[in-house]
Symmetry: C2
């Protein structure tokens, strides 16, 4: 009998052969199955240790019909908010023995469909996702439950498919932001809004509207400016409202990059911030506290969101009840007041 030292991986059969027992006994011994004698169990474990045996998760997952992998689908990983969320999820899930498989959609619907498919093929236990901007149909995620794959959302959720989710109270965040502007004496407040079919942007707009309504300020139609949440979106909006007869005195942006565009365009035109124009953003991107003037923004607590949604999944998979528990968490956002919105002379 010749030992094969070139073997790439040790299997339970190798251990079984060496101990003259069957592979099934080895398998049970490693699982600490009480039906195996203590003596056999320890012998097996010792040998496994000695050879640094590592179970083949592919085989085990195939047999059990379930792996130990959670799929994550996000628009882009190199965006501060999303990488924070992933950091939070990883923290919780890796302790629980799960691996993360990450797919990016780049905000494209077809990439999202492909990602879902990929994760189904990989037989993940769950998919945790934040919808792409383009996503309107939900056909691609409808049938996950039949396939025994849990589905959870964070941030950009989907009302049509009932699932656990964690979101920020965007409406409240926007409300706080706008109320803060009003409290600081601003009245003619424009809103740079995101696409209406995305819940977060819709909610932010609603928060804006409520704050204005509750303070008796009429919102003119043109004050709601739908733009891309990018630098150019802000710049373009600034150009537009600069030409109005009655110019706004503040801007609430549904995203920090748009706010940055406003600030940048305002500087070029020598419009002072916050004296001539108050600005508030949303998301608390890392740059917001460092730019000049520092930008007031709404923090979304990405890491916490990741930890919570991961916890929701663990709770579900812990239960043996086939009918899953749906838990919807809405996190309270925090308004971080900085220089761009506080004007002593107002």
């Amino acid at each position: 009998m010749q030992e094969n030292h070139s073997k790439t991986h040790i299997t339970i059969h190798d251990i079984a052969r060496e101990l003259n027992i069957s592979a099934s006994t080895v398998s049970r011994a490693l699982q600490n199955n009480p039906r195996i004698s203590i003596h056999t169990r320890t012998t097996v474990r010792e040998l496994a240790q000695k050879y640094n045996y590592q179970p083949n998760v592919l085989a085990s997952s195939l047999r059990k019909g379930q792996g130990n992998t959670v799929g994550v689908i996000i628009p882009r990983i190199n965006r501060n908010f999303f990488s924070n969320v992933i950091g939070g999820m990883e923290e919780v899930l890796s302790d629980a023995g799960y691996n993360l498989m990450i797919c990016q959609t780049y905000e494209k619907f077809n990439k999202e469909v492909a990602a879902v498919q990929t994760l189904i093929n990989a037989r993940v236990n769950a998919i945790i996702m934040s919808l792409s901007m383009e996503t309107r149909s939900t056909e691609h995620i409808r049938h996950l439950k039949n396939k025994n794959i849990r589905l959870l959302f964070f941030d950009r959720t989907c009302e049509q498919v009932p699932s656990s989710s964690v979101t920020t109270d965007d409406e409240q965040g926007a409300f706080l932001a706008v109320k803060h502007l009003i409290d600081n004496g601003y009245r003619k407040i424009v809103h740079i809004a995101g696409a209406d079919h995305i819940n977060i942007y819709r909610n932010r707009k609603n928060g804006y509207l409520r704050a204005m309504r509750e303070n008796g300020i009429d919102v003119r139609k043109e004050w709601i400016m739908h733009r891309g949440m990018v630098l150019e979106g802000g710049k373009e909006a600034f150009q537009t409202f600069s030409s109005w007869d009655e110019r706004p005195d503040a801007v609430f942006c549904a995203g920090d990059y748009a706010a940055l565009g406003i600030i940048s365009a305002a500087r070029q035109k020598s419009v002072r911030i916050p004296e001539d124009l108050g600005v508030v953003g949303f998301s608390n991107e890392p740059f917001t506290e460092f730019i000049e003037p520092s930008l007031t923004s709404v923090d979304q607590k990405g890491e916490e969101m990741g930890r919570i949604v991961a916890g929701q999944f663990l709770k579900q998979s812990g239960e043996n009840t086939p009918d899953e528990i749906i838990e919807t968490r809405i996190l309270k956002p925090e308004l971080l007041i900085r220089a761009s919105s506080v004007c002593k002379t107002k």
Copy 2:
């Protein structure tokens, strides 16, 4: 015969049964094997399409002994540089049909060991990693090759284990940065340096020294200030050199956050940048272009690094040669000149 619509996944056996052929024929038909008649091939494909058949990658990987997953080990995902690298890798690898499995070490050695083990168990095709700060031993990655798992490094590499890698030429980046300061009339240039046992910081210091030497500037001992690469490190350094009899006229920081600290402290003391003090950072963090004044910095091209290291892996796995090709790429960093270091009156 009753159809089972509650089946979670369609298999080749389901298709075989329905067409009264064997599973192996289905398998070959789906692989477009020429030994299967055209007619059978199309029939199978059509049915597969109809049922939206998706192969079980677990089963296929198990059989083939190799999956389609690449493991990535990084210190932290929510750091701009690393998430950029991952973005770049994902871009290349997902097109090539690979999934990414990401593990974080949080700069801890034992977390790194565990991550390697996890990825071995998952039978990844390769591990692409950037070492944790704590890592000094290489026992945990030595035996990957025996296990038929490729190993590649980026940024923080490991000389002891020969493997393909991509790094930035930190020495050169620092040299360019300091040369740029000198060219702009600065002479008394202080260097805020990082920990000496980390190669990237050591290299940056060497670049600084070479630029100074080549331009005939004597570097005083106290000009090299070892500080943490954080905001406070910069602030503290500023306080320190402010009290010197002969104050420096510029600072080259091995990290952007330290540079930010310098700028922030300088503003408080009404020291003008770049007139009174030139500042250059390193890493091109997202905030650098938005702060006031915008910060000159050295870009490390994270995305490109990710794309290249992913490409190196693809090249290796494309070859059938068992002895792998080792390719070491050193990327030329790019100095992004902004307001903090260019002074017209100098």
